[in-house]
Homo-oligomer: 214 residues x 2
Amino acid sequence: MHKKQISKAVINRLPRYYRYLGDLLEKDVVRISSKELSDKMKVTASQIRQDLNNFGGFGQQGYGYNVEYLHTEIGKILGLDKKYNIIIIGAGNLGQALANYVDFERRGFYVKAIFDINPRLVGLSIRGIEIKNIDELKEYITMNQVDIAALTVPKAKAPQLAADLAKWGIKGIWNFAPTDLHLAEDIIVENVHLAESLMKLSYKLSEKNKANDK
Amino acid sequence: MHKKQISKAVINRLPRYYRYLGDLLEKDVVRISSKELSDKMKVTASQIRQDLNNFGGFGQQGYGYNVEYLHTEIGKILGLDKKYNIIIIGAGNLGQALANYVDFERRGFYVKAIFDINPRLVGLSIRGIEIKNIDELKEYITMNQVDIAALTVPKAKAPQLAADLAKWGIKGIWNFAPTDLHLAEDIIVENVHLAESLMKLSYKLSEKNKANDK
DNA sequence: TAGATTGTTAATCGATTAACAATC
DNA sequence: TAGATTGTTAATCGATTAACAATC
């Protein structure tokens, strides 16, 4: 059976749908039409229906979509019905911020350990999660089920570390280092490049300035 | 004169070009062809040439591109030749992580103040930058030139705060709150939705699992 | 039933890739 | 000059939007 590949553009929009549906759910909204949702989200109703129908018919003619049901189904598509064990590598400010972000657990992402190279940080705890020495990383991954490693280490350290993580059996890397990790393609990498995000903001600001100067 | 609008896809790629060129520059690489760069970046040479030619002819036939020149020119396109004053609103973990991220200054982004509602944080300093009471926000913005506000506050507070910031004359918002800010269109918003990034990773992981189960 | 809204096909639009003449 | 590589046009591909029959 030939399953049509879902386009990347669609996947990128799914978390946003999920967020809006979660917000509606909190407001006890029971049903919503693609038109109503399109008004809220500033996208076309057609796009919403096309996107959802990549995964199945979640709506009902003449009625629209049941908010709770659609929220749950998109959650399943995103894999949020599963639990993931995360380790954070790099206990700097960003690593600590991630470790403190309790909301992740609500979505099934559990931070199990933090690793750092700095002996002054090793032994400390964040939210009850111990900072371990990075020397113990290999053994930890081998002995525990770890699904995701969040990489908040300096750029220079990231590629080698990522290669090691892949070798030791990590499945996914949430990469915050400002570099691309070129790994075997069965290792999933999701990048968060803050500097690039800020540059986009900078671009848009200077575009606006140019427009105003005219 | 009719200036062709640059597509969003192109803008999104510019910071990545800038990063690769910066890396080449550090390695003292003088020239690079679109073909060589395409091999490194895993994109087509054709796309690189198309992207760059939206902004002008930066290369030379038979030679390629001068790395330093191209780096500088893309920097100008991105507005990195200008200086920006940033304030951070929300001195939680993420706000503190941003305040500590020295590298931003290298690119012309200067963190001038941090604001928080929590009286226990007010008065503390991060890298010599004082945490002020959020009550002083309006006056600060009015009295100082502030270009960008990084918003690292809880979701519930973000929309009202963003509306206030817009009213008080902020030009750009770097939004880390997991919500969309619907503001007048002359206010530039750049979102960093960490939870959505993690969901994409989750999706890709569960896709891989499904493929393996077959 | 009549009205509303989906699911889905077809049309349009835009982005990417290929190809090659221009030119360094 | 000959070889290399750009800048740019044309062809292809994919994503978005429009339209409407199906159906609740």
